[in-house]
Symmetry: C3
Subunit: 354 residues, 3 copies
């Protein structure tokens, strides 16, 4: 676990140390403002994180030059906090550690027609089938499977027990965690004479550069063509992605979400946990769907949706407030009925008198 | 990938080609009206798919003799469209391709007491335990496990990493996809002196003919007797089926649905994605539960249910409309209160005058 | 499968047999009142199970001395029914059967630095990595993986295909079912210059004594420190537990529930199926969240919550009743508007007359 001193950090990002800071202080991790603990570093750039900044437990924060609020952590001012943080991240939290020796473990089963780059690693009891190509520095973990004619680019990492079925295409730096299944057969049947007859699924799954797939997530192959996860998409654990779905660049798909067949997401979409998306819909760029939300129709860009019926977040919050006031609302109606009845009596009396 | 000409298709189904159709046109896939793309064939039989028929991108559609609407695709009229489609499906989309050589891979671990049919295939690094029986032409994929005393019928296919625990019974043509776990130990405990004590689960899982189980789906063994999935049931990915559940013939269970212990489903039930069913309920034949729905009590046949509380679909849709009008409803009440107050003043005045 | 006679059962628990009971009757299973079938035994202690007791199909029930209701099953009275049941359970349903020979299967891949107790069992094709420690009588199932420097105590059982990643700590009697992934990398990214950059996850997962983890459940390692599942917690299938979550002793986490990063649960919490918990919240002791419920803020002990918005159960049930009466409520408002309009006319008439 790399550790940097505050002095080394200030040098790395080209910032001036505050006079009262201890240059020898040890920093052992880089993370978000919200997650940071004592001894760690975080960064701040956008005002929407101001509250998180004020409450952070980080020891050091990187902020823009103009930021002048007094804070508990050591404050380093730089012109581009995100880039500075990124440089620190590279030093403190290097990705995809290449700690294992390259080469093919003697217990792995590699088909003679497979082309494995000499810098790649095939761990114990992995299976690499016919016609597979594995690029430089890629790792196929213990018990992992690479199905026939699949291709991995550079620096990919199939964790132990990752399952990549036939004919799938991975770019570079793709990570597939344990128990994930890429290229399963989709849920497509024709109902013929009282039985569900399976339809063929001849397509593949394509995962572009820097895609990461969580543990026990399933991505079905396309019926024809490809199920396509584009650059930089991050998928959490236990997510279901059906056949022919297309997910645009840099989306975040949180745990236990399900996306039905042929749905299409734009870029920078966030689906929070346990979201459901029905088949054949289009979701625009930068849409955010809150946890447990449902999406059942096309959605314009930059919407925020909530709830099973995918209602715009502002309206949804208002509706929940109304919902929780229902007993009071009903009581009001009862009171109105009562008052109206009494008034009727008065009016009748008045009319009788008149 | 088999390809048929339009001429071959017309011959196969015994239909007359329209005069303006090109008999040499290539057709490369058979699928549903909704999923079909250029170059593919679909069929139409029931009026509820009329909208899908009018919007299909299929190149060819098979319809009943009396159907006379003008459509963009080439139209083939036959007396039984479903059977005709089925014949095409057999030619264009053959199921369970037997592309691998039969026999036991030298790296597989097969217990000497296991009886493996000579036409069956055991792929690399699979484990077949004590007392197992594997029928003709069945395939046990790479890294798959067949637990002690389990039995597979004919033409079953355990995909790579499919996990079948001890004592399970499979009919013929059963498919279990990668990462699925059949025969896990159910979630049954007795709360004794402040601790949850595990109860035994001595039963098994029985999967009848033509059952298919999706990737990373879990089916718990029975406490006693069997968890029983009957003929032709199709189960999607990441589904949870608890101990002693019984699912009747030809049900469809869509992804991420959970069915609690001892629930019983009739035949032709559809549970859409992310549905939850509580324990010990009975669901009648042909019930349909919409995505994200919940079922917490016995349900008569042919109901359509929606929402967490499993409300009949028609009522549920009405309630959602009322829900979304709540702000207007509340505004109406406010207006009524205002008008009533004003009227009271008038009445008081009138009475005072009288 | 052990079987006891009614005579043996009465002797084991020190109860007197009723005069009309057959001492030779065979009892083959011990379970809950609700699950029990003919030929099985259950126990009753708390009045909240009175209805289950009256409806049980058990052949024998163990009850407190003062219980004097007449029931269909044979009734055995003892001073501590739970302890008596526990004694029967030990005889009828012994846990973690050690049916396999101990030792390391020749096809398993065990790193020379791993320390495996001679009474432990390593099944075929399992992988045990560098620096691992495996305690007495623990079992590592076929195809299971124990990642580098992980430690298992006594009598642990990794079922076939259980996946334990690097540096995880297991107490004694821990059970991990097939397809579960312990120590996956959490879903933590910093958004830097238009891309999600992965943050390191250097922590581990700690599972204390008697924890059980269901099939295909995923538990992410901590960013720093540990994701911590405490004594006696039982986790069902397909559950997602994110980085740095802490779950207190004896909680029950039912299938398909998701718990987000850094959430903390007290002891004896029950999360029913498909529940979602957002990050960073605290849930007090003995809280119960109903199936499909959501928890989005801190929760005091002993609350019962229901619904997506985590509303107290009593209020939630009332709100659902109001929700389902919305059409009637709206009709009442319409009627009020009508009556008010009519009354206005009367008042106007009265005033005009006056």
């Amino acid at each position: 676990m790399p550790i940097l001193t505050l002095h080394e950090i200030a040098q790395t990002v080209g910032a001036k140390l505050p006079a009262d800071a201890d240059p020898a202080m040890s920093i052992f991790g880089a993370t978000t403002l919200e997650e940071a603990q004592t001894g760690q570093i975080a960064f701040y750039e956008h005002p929407k994180y101001l509250r998180a900044l004020r409450m952070t437990k980080a020891a050091v924060v990187i902020v823009p030059p103009a930021f002048d609020e007094v804070l508990a952590p050591v404050v380093l001012r730089v012109s581009n906090p995100a880039a500075a943080f990124s440089a620190i991240l590279d030093k403190l939290e290097p990705t995809v550690p290449q700690e294992r020796e390259s080469g093919i473990h003697p217990t792995a089963v590699v088909h003679p027609t497979a082309r494995v780059d000499p810098t790649a690693t095939i761990e114990p009891l992995a299976v690499v089938e016919e016609g597979v190509e594995i690029g430089p520095r890629s790792i196929v973990g213990a018990h992992a499977l690479v199905g026939r004619h699949s291709r991995l680019g550079e620096d990919c990492h199939l964790h132990p027990h990752a399952i990549l079925r036939d004919g799938c295409l991975l770019g570079s730096r793709v990570v597939i965690q344990s128990g994930a299944v890429i290229g399963s057969i989709g849920f497509g049947f024709a109902f013929v004479e009282g039985r569900h007859r399976r339809l063929g699924h001849r397509g593949c799954v394509q995962l572009d550069d820097d895609v990461e797939v969580g543990a026990c997530t399933t991505i079905d192959r396309a019926r024809f063509g490809r199920t396509w996860i584009q650059t930089g998409v991050k998928i959490d654990n236990l997510v279901q992605i059906a056949h022919n779905v297309v997910i645009g660049p840099h989306c975040l798909i949180v745990a236990q979400t399900g996306i039905s067949g042929s749905a299409r997401l734009g870029q920078y979409v966030t689906l929070a946990g346990q979201v459901g998306v029905v088949g054949h819909v289009e979701i625009g760029d930068q849409v955010i769907v809150a946890a447990k939300g449902g999406v059942s129709k096309d959605t314009a860009p930059r919407q925020q949706l909530m709830g099973t019926y995918g209602i715009p977040a502002k309206e949804a919050r208002e509706l929940v407030a109304h919902y929780r006031r229902l007993p009071k609302t009903v009581a009001k109606i009862k009171a109105l009925e009562q008052e109206l009845a009494e008034l009727k009596v008065l009016v009748a009396k008045s009319l009788a008198r008149g």
